[in-house]
Structure formats: structure tokens, C-alpha cells
């Protein structure tokens, strides 16, 4: 009897594992695809970043950025006048800023994990466009999500754990549409395990040949009165951005 029960348990376990691996694709494959869905390998974009805090005037910023896979991200603030001309260069493991109003001609290094210009986004949220280098992903399961724009959506819940010590977050949990991995919302956890940022995506449009979210709304969990919204105004795929664009020389040009 005991032997029979053991056999049944083993069969169930094996078939369960098999079923699990059949139903859920490899998390890292999904993460790679997500990186492609979010942004092309080379692109130019212009975004507006708004930060809304209860009782305060909305802060708005217009930013242009250029990205090339493997090289980095080069950004420049166009507006408001106080920050106009401020440039950022994000390269693997380092972030640099040059402000023409600083009274110096030298770029300075920034910490990627800090808030970007006082918004709910971190420097790396804005300047780094891929996750695969820093996180290992596993599918945790399927869920049905009520999305304000897309309605009831069956999606994968993808758990991404940091594999590099300098990753900005300890863990990111992502909800992606099951059919095509279009991202719906992300929860960001600190290395302590504390949930501290939540991002919701909406306004899906065909940009640079793919369906992409053009509105990203980030909330700080510990600062419920503050949220920041990025609206993508222009996104163009590029094929010929020179590597030299992502050199420190270009920051102080």
C-alpha cells in the first residue's frame, strides 16, 4: 500500500514538473523578448517626464535620448530652462552627468540607484532600457489582470531576481500579456525585500514597428502623494548611431 502511494506520488510529481515546464516558457527567454518589445536595439526618443506631488505644482521635463545596445544611453534635457542642456551618459556600471550651468566643464559621476531629477524614477529606470544583463527571470504563474485600457488580460507573472550587485533593484515582479509578452505593470523591490515602487503601463501604440506602451506611471509606495509619468512622444528605430556618441568626450562637447 505504502509502495503504491509512493509510486503515485512520484508519478504525480514528475508529471507536474513536466506540465509546469510545458505550460510556462523559460523566464529568461521572455525577459529577452521583453527587452525587444520595450525598445529597439538602437533608437532615438523624446519623452516628457511629469512629477505630481499633492499640494505642489507639477514638475515637467522634456528629455531626448539615444540608445545603442552594448554601448549605452546618451540623454539631454531640453526643458525646463533651469535644467536645459544637462546631459547624461549611462554606460555599463557607470552614470555621468554634465550641467552647463554648474560652473565647471567636467562631467560628474552619479549613483544609478538614486532618484532621477527628484522624480519617482531612478536614474537607471530612465537611462537603462534592458533587464537581461542584471536579472534572472522565472515565471511564477498565470494571472488575470484588470487593465484600465485593455480590460481583463491573462498574463504571466515574471519574477526577476538581481544577479549583479550593482543592479538597481533586488527583485522586479512583472505582469506581461500571455499572448505577446506586452508589459502591463511592474513592482520593484529593494534588496531588503521591501516593495517600494510600482509602475503601470498604458497608451499602447505602434511605435518603431511594434506595439509598445507609451505611458509609464511610477508610484513610490512610501510616498503615496508623489507619482511620476513618462510619456513617449517620439520613438524612432536607428541603425547607424556611432559608438563615439556614447563616449565621455561627447558629454562636454
Amino acid at each position: 500500500m505504502t509502495r503504491k502511494m509512493t509510486l503515485i506520488a512520484i508519478v504525480c510529481a514528475v508529471s507536474g514538473i513536466a506540465a509546469f515546464s510545458l505550460v510556462f516558457p523559460d523566464g529568461n527567454v521572455i525577459l529577452e523578448e521583453l527587452d525587444r518589445i520595450r525598445f529597439p536595439d538602437q533608437f532615438f526618443q523624446r519623452v516628457t517626464l511629469r512629477t505630481l506631488t499633492d499640494g505642489e505644482t507639477t514638475k515637467s521635463m522634456t528629455i531626448e535620448s539615444r540608445y545603442k545596445k552594448g554601448q549605452g544611453t546618451f540623454m539631454e534635457i531640453l526643458d525646463p530652462p533651469r535644467s536645459k542642456g544637462t546631459r547624461f551618459l549611462n554606460k555599463e556600471g557607470s552614470l555621468w552627468m554634465y550641467s552647463p550651468k554648474s560652473g565647471s566643464t567636467k562631467p560628474i559621476r552619479l549613483a544609478p540607484k538614486d532618484s532621477f531629477q527628484g522624480s519617482a524614477f531612478s536614474n537607471s529606470d530612465v537611462s537603462k532600457t534592458t533587464f537581461t544583463e542584471d536579472y534572472n527571470a522565472t515565471v511564477e504563474g498565470e494571472e488575470t489582470l484588470d487593465h484600465p485600457e485593455l480590460g481583463s488580460i491573462v498574463c504571466y507573472r515574471l519574477r526577476c531576481d538581481a544577479i549583479k550587485p550593482d543592479a538597481s533593484y533586488g527583485k522586479i515582479v512583472m505582469w506581461l500579456r500571455k499572448d505577446d509578452y506586452v508589459p502591463l505593470k511592474f513592482d520593484y523591490y529593494a534588496k531588503s525585500g521591501l516593495l517600494y515602487r510600482k509602475m503601470a503601463m498604458s497608451k499602447y501604440r505602434i511605435l518603431a514597428g511594434r506595439l509598445r506602451a507609451t505611458k509609464m506611471e511610477m508610484e513610490s509606495v512610501d510616498k503615496a502623494a508623489t507619482k511620476s509619468i513618462i510619456d513617449i512622444e517620439v520613438l524612432e528605430e536607428k541603425t547607424n548611431l556611432p559608438d563615439s556618441l556614447f563616449n565621455l568626450n561627447n558629454l562636454t562637447r
Partner: protein, 400 residues
């Protein structure tokens, strides 16, 4: 005169509008096509400064006001770019123009930038002091953006290696009559390598009649703390040393001196506040020992007029900087440079409030603590530094 200032301000604002429009058109196509693009980065501000003869607030020595325009104009056309960085100040009937940089940038190849004109070449990564930089005009703490008359070539073969080479005739302009003197031409070369969170630098500066300077340095991001260090070995042509109580000029290029800096910077930025803390130890080999400091204090006025103190007065110095902003548009900053030999210091502290996105109101204190022959001598405050002890400035600034 005021009409002229008003004209300058209105023109700047109009140009600003045109600039934004032009930039948006360019950005939409992201093309560096053959249309003329103009960008303006500028602010207009009024400074009212009170110079104190002593720490008694009623002992005001002088009060001045200035209306100034700080502007960067950038014209781009295809692979050409013309940049002018200047300041125009008006006080009563006086107008002062200061050109920090004015250069033409040519980009014959994707990886090659050629700058011709007045341009500052970045040497070193030091926060307060770059020991390897004997190429740019010396501006010390109060000006690190004035460039020299030079030609600079920047090569960016890839995204992580940068090579810069410069030739400057700036020192020829220091002579009473500007003239070309081959022995005063200064040459510089710097390489800059960024590998993950490590930056490595090496530099070489040479002027046949003035200096030979070999420098190296690094900066490293250690869990958000930026640690940096630099060192340079310099042979100088104009070194004065004390022998007993006598100042004597050392034979040119015979007395190599090491200078170095080591420090750390930490910045934390949240949605509400930002705080920057930095501390740097500075060893300046070309500067004075304690004996030389004493000898300088006892030197005659004609000698002092003929010989300026070195870049840093004494060999051992510490620079500390802090910047805080938050609490709904409030900012506080402070910088201290402490001379470890005579315990004198320079102090610059300010409080700012930004009632609107484009407006800053600032109160600033600039002072030196120590005797007349101490760090106070470096204060850029008229009248004679032995008279004024502090400058208090109130500023209203509008960002265009």
C-alpha cells in the same frame, strides 16, 4: 546703457524661443541635416553685494550691484558647430564682457572632434584641483570654465576610450604685447578609459619655457560612493624657495614636485531631498612649507607684487563640500577649503529658495578666515583683501 541691457535680454528671450522651435524640428527627425539649429542656455540675474570691513554688520566697506546675463549660444549646421559661452554684466555705466569659451567644432569623422578657438580641455577628474592640469588658464576655485586660445582634437575610437590632444598659445597672451612665441606654446595629451565602474586617466602637458607635467588618476564607484585619486609629477620653470630668510629662484626644470589629491563624493537623491557630501585631501608639491609661509608673511610688498602665491598657498589642504536641496524648493550649500599649515580657510556658503521653476533667490556668504597673508588673499573680493573680510551677495536669477 540700460536700453542696451534691455535689448540684450529681449533678444536673448526671443532667440530662446526660436532655439526651442528649431531644436524640436531637428529632434523629430533626429537628423543632423543641413538646417541651421540654434540652442540657447541662459539666465539673467541681479546681484547686490555688500563687502564688510569687519564682522560688525554696520562696518560696510562697499556695496555694489550688477545685472548679468550668463549665456551659452550654440549654432549647428551639419557637421559644424559654433559655441559661445559668455557673461555680460552691467553696473551703472560699466559693461563688462567675459568670454569663457568661443570655439568652432568640426566633426570630419564620426569619431573625431576638432575644436578651434577658446576652449577648456578637461584634464583629470579631481573635484577641486587637477594636479596634472597645467594646460588651461588657472582659475582656481572661483572659475573652472574659462578656456585658453587653443586647438583641441578629441578622438573617440569607441564608447569607452577617449583621447584628447591640445595645442595652446594662451601663454603668449600673458606677455605685454600678444605675440607668437614658440617657447610659450603648450602641448597636452590625455587619455580617458572607462571600464564598468572604473575610470582611468593619464595626462602629459609640456611647455618648453614653463612646465613638464605627467599625471595619472582614477575614479571608482564603490556602492554609490565615488572615490577618486590623482597624482602628477611636475617640473616647473618658475619655482621660488626660501633659503634661510631669502627667497631664491630654483634652476628651471631641476626640481620635480609631486602633487596629488584623494577624496570621495557621495550623493543621495530621493523624491524629496538631495544631499551631496564630498571631501578631498589635496597635496600641492609646488606650494609652500611652513617656513616658506612664514617667509612670505615677512616678505616685502614689491616682492609680493612681482610673485604670486602658488595655486595652493600651502602643501597640505582639505576641501569639503556639501549641497542640500529639498523641503519644497529650498537649497543650502557650503564649501570649505582648509589650509592645514596655517589653519586659515576659505568659506563659501549659500541658501537658495526657488518660488517658481524659473526663478531662484539666493543669499551667499564668501569669506576667508585667517590673517591678511593667509587664504583670505585668494578671495576675489575688492577692495584690497587686507581690508574686506567678507562679501554677502543677494541674487535674484531668472532662467531663460
Amino acid at each position: 546703457m540700460r536700453r542696451m541691457m534691455i535689448f540684450v535680454v529681449i533678444s536673448t528671450i526671443l532667440c530662446s524661443t526660436v532655439g526651442i522651435t528649431a531644436q524640436e524640428e531637428l529632434a523629430a527627425g533626429d537628423a543632423t541635416g543641413d538646417s541651421l539649429d540654434y540652442t540657447l542656455i541662459a539666465s539673467v540675474y541681479e546681484d547686490t553685494t555688500v563687502y564688510l570691513a569687519s564682522w560688525n554688520p554696520s562696518d560696510t566697506k562697499l556695496m555694489t550691484w550688477l545685472v548679468s546675463l550668463d549665456a551659452t549660444h550654440r549654432f549647428s549646421y551639419g557637421d559644424y558647430e559654433l559655441t559661445l559661452v559668455h557673461k555680460t554684466s552691467v553696473s551703472g555705466t560699466d559693461i563688462v564682457h567675459t568670454v569663457y569659451e568661443a570655439y568652432l567644432l568640426l566633426r570630419p569623422l564620426d569619431f573625431l572632434d576638432v575644436y578651434i578657438g577658446r576652449k577648456r580641455m578637461n584634464i583629470g577628474s579631481g573635484m577641486t584641483f587637477a594636479p596634472g592640469d597645467s594646460f588651461n588658464p588657472t582659475g582656481w576655485l572661483f572659475d573652472s570654465k574659462t578656456g585658453g586660445r587653443d586647438v583641441i582634437v578629441k578622438i573617440s575610437p569607441n564608447s569607452f576610450l577617449g583621447i584628447s590632444a591640445g595645442v595652446s598659445i594662451e601663454r603668449s597672451f600673458g606677455t605685454p604685447v600678444p605675440s607668437f612665441a614658440p617657447e610659450l606654446v603648450t602641448y597636452a595629451l590625455e587619455t580617458d578609459l572607462v571600464l564598468d565602474n572604473l575610470q582611468l586617466l593619464a595626462s602629459f602637458v609640456f611647455c618648453p619655457d614653463k612646465t613638464l607635467n605627467l599625471g595619472t588618476g582614477f575614479s571608482l564607484d564603490v556602492f554609490g560612493i565615488i572615490v577618486s585619486a590623482e597624482g602628477a609629477l611636475e617640473l616647473d620653470s618658475d619655482v621660488w624657495r626660501v633659503d634661510g630668510s631669502e627667497w631664491k629662484q630654483a634652476e628651471a626644470f631641476t626640481d620635480p614636485r609631486f602633487s596629488g589629491t584623494a577624496g570621495a563624493r557621495y550623493e543621495i537623491v530621493t523624491e524629496d531631498v538631495s544631499l551631496l557630501l564630498s571631501a578631498e585631501y589635496i597635496y600641492s608639491g609646488q606650494s609652500w612649507t611652513a617656513d616658506e609661509t612664514t617667509a612670505w608673511e615677512n616678505s616685502s610688498v614689491p616682492f609680493k607684487l612681482e610673485h604670486k602665491p602658488p595655486y595652493f598657498r600651502n602643501m597640505h589642504n582639505v576641501a569639503i563640500k556639501t549641497v542640500f536641496s529639498g523641503w519644497s524648493r529650498l537649497g543650502i550649500n557650503g564649501t570649505v577649503v582648509y589650509n592645514c599649515i596655517d589653519s586659515s580657510m576659505l568659506l563659501n556658503a549659500g541658501v537658495s529658495y526657488s518660488p517658481y521653476d524659473n526663478v531662484d533667490l539666493v543669499a551667499n556668504l564668501l569669506t576667508g578666515i585667517g590673517g591678511p597673508d593667509s587664504e583670505r588673499e585668494y578671495l576675489p573680493i575688492p577692495p584690497a583683501s587686507s581690508q574686506a573680510v567678507a562679501a554677502i551677495t543677494l541674487t535674484a536669477r531668472f532662467h531663460i
